[in-house]
Amino acid sequence: MAQNSSPLLRILVPFADIPRWLVVSLGILIWVLVLLGWVAASYGGSIPQMFLPTPGLVFSKTLEMIADGTLYTNTLSSVQVVVYGFIVSSVIAVPLGLWMGTYRVVQSLLEPLVNFIRYLPVTSFVPLFILWIGIGLEERVAIIFFGTFFQQLVMISTAANSVSRDLVNASYTLGTKRHEVVWHVIFPAALPSILDTLRVTMGWAWTYLVVAELVAASSGLGYISMRAMRGFQVEIIFLAILTIGLLGLIMDQTFRLIRLKLAPWA
């Protein structure tokens, strides 16, 4: 049926492949449309400058903040918070998740607690953490940790638990001892899923960043957004949002490459 259709109709065949140039063009098109809409709305004057800055204004502000170094310091501060929180969380969640998925006793102990905490909104812990930890870097790192750790734990535990029993059995018949199974079989077998989990939760960690910086911070992209709001500097808020988005994209692609490198078989 697909063979007789015209090229125009063929792109409407369910699941059909489309040419590479079309994929790229469509990806660019959506951004051009968004930009055009922005240009029309801001320069056209239908929305006041106070609420929607012109692209030109955001661009000149960007250059200004690059020149005086504020964009760099605040970006660095935010990256630091996310990376610290994410690393501390992952370093604990990966081994613990593997044990949880492998040993029913660990699962039975942790799951009731983890499933409770997992559904609590991170924001509800901000006041508590400020009270306990103060308003330093540690508090922001704690927010990121809290937002990612329990999700990671559950996802990694599921990955470990879904490792094929046949693989484990095969490893036994080749001389693997019980205590070696987690390291020699479960971990490598679950590695592709673990790396996927880390990639997804890294994205979530970024979304908690602004929450962490909204209340208690003296630097960071979320912090400058809050300050800009008080001074009606919408262009800075736009700049902060764009920067967070861009950094998220870079992190995501980095993780994609790491996965290709560490788990080339899957």
Binding site: N169, L174, A189, W265
Partner: protein, 282 residues
């Protein structure tokens, strides 16, 4: 036992000062299954294997056939130590076994190659667990990769291989570990018939070169007669031994055997035994 033809040493896999391990160094164990019973779900549960006893001599190739669900795979898992038996004793070289170990290698019906390891690393896996030195490891791995004809795929990942190739690696992986007993659970069951007969030929060749005590489970009677020194026919669930038949067909055997009158007579006999079981079952 059958008189066997002299064994030709395998061709050297790679230029190496060390001579590849030959049959003399490969070891075979005896296997004794004594009053083994398996009941699923406690003392009042389903009886899967009912009081089975038989012994397998070193280097003997024993095939178990039976209607599906007769517990023939369960029996193999019991010998491997992967399932706990309810009653009875299993001995390898007169030593009671109660847990899995590298002395009983196994080739599974499904694909169980480690996907994160290359073909070479898969074959090497058991040798590494045994802490065998790198140099010796390499010699053994190359020899077995060569024996299953996958030398040029050594650096491929399992995902890049066809089903038949995966099972060839699985056989090489089990043999490289030099287990006293090799357990094979319908290893060719998932393959198309063309590939299956290629694999049978390969297994015949490899086994006739370096013999091993083998316990092989299948539901394919041609396969059972072609490969086995002995065919054990099991009853429908609960599994018991219905017949224990010696296959007096000289080796080396070839695929043409299936046309021979001896072969056909034996096949008719086993089929008859199996049909009784299936008819009783339905």
């Amino acid at each position: 036992m059958l008189a066997r033809t002299p064994v030709a040493p395998p061709p050297p896999a790679a230029p190496s000062s060390e001579r590849p391990k030959t049959l003399a160094e490969s070891h075979s164990a005896s296997l004794a299954i004594e009053n083994v019973t398996l009941r699923y779900g406690g003392p009042k549960g389903v009886l899967a294997v009912d009081d089975i006893s038989f012994a397998v001599a070193p280097n003997e190739f024993t095939v178990i056939v039976g209607p599906s669900g007769c517990g023939k795979s369960s029996l193999l898992y019991l010998v491997a130590g992967l399932t706990e038996l309810s009653e009875g004793v299993i001995r390898v070289n007169d030593v009671v076994v109660d847990r899995p170990g590298p002395d009983r290698g196994m080739v599974f019906q499904g694909y169980t190659l480690f996907p994160w390891l290359t073909v070479r690393q898969n074959v090497e896996y058991g040798l590494k667990r045994k802490k065998i030195a790198v140099a010796e490891r390499n010699v053994i791995v190359e020899q077995y990769l060569d024996a299953v004809g996958l030398y040029q795929f050594a650096d491929h990942f399992p995902a890049q291989l066809s089903g038949g190739m995966k099972q060839r690696v699985a056989i090489a992986r089990a043999l490289a570990n030099d287990p006293g007993v090799l357990l094979m659970d319908e290893p060719f069951g998932a393959l198309d018939s063309q590939t299956r007969s290629t694999m049978q030929k390969l297994l015949l060749k490899v086994w006739e070169q370096r013999q091993k005590t083998v316990l092989f489970v299948t539901h394919d009677i041609d396969e059972a007669i072609l490969l086995g020194d002995r065919v054990i026919v099991m009853t429908a669930r609960p599994g018991r031994i219905k017949a224990d038949i010696r296959v007096d067909i000289p080796r080396p055997r070839s695929m043409d055997l299936v046309m021979e009158p001896d072969f056909i007579a034996l096949k008719r006999r086993i089929l008859g035994l199996l049909h009784d079981e299936i008819d009783e079952d339905h």
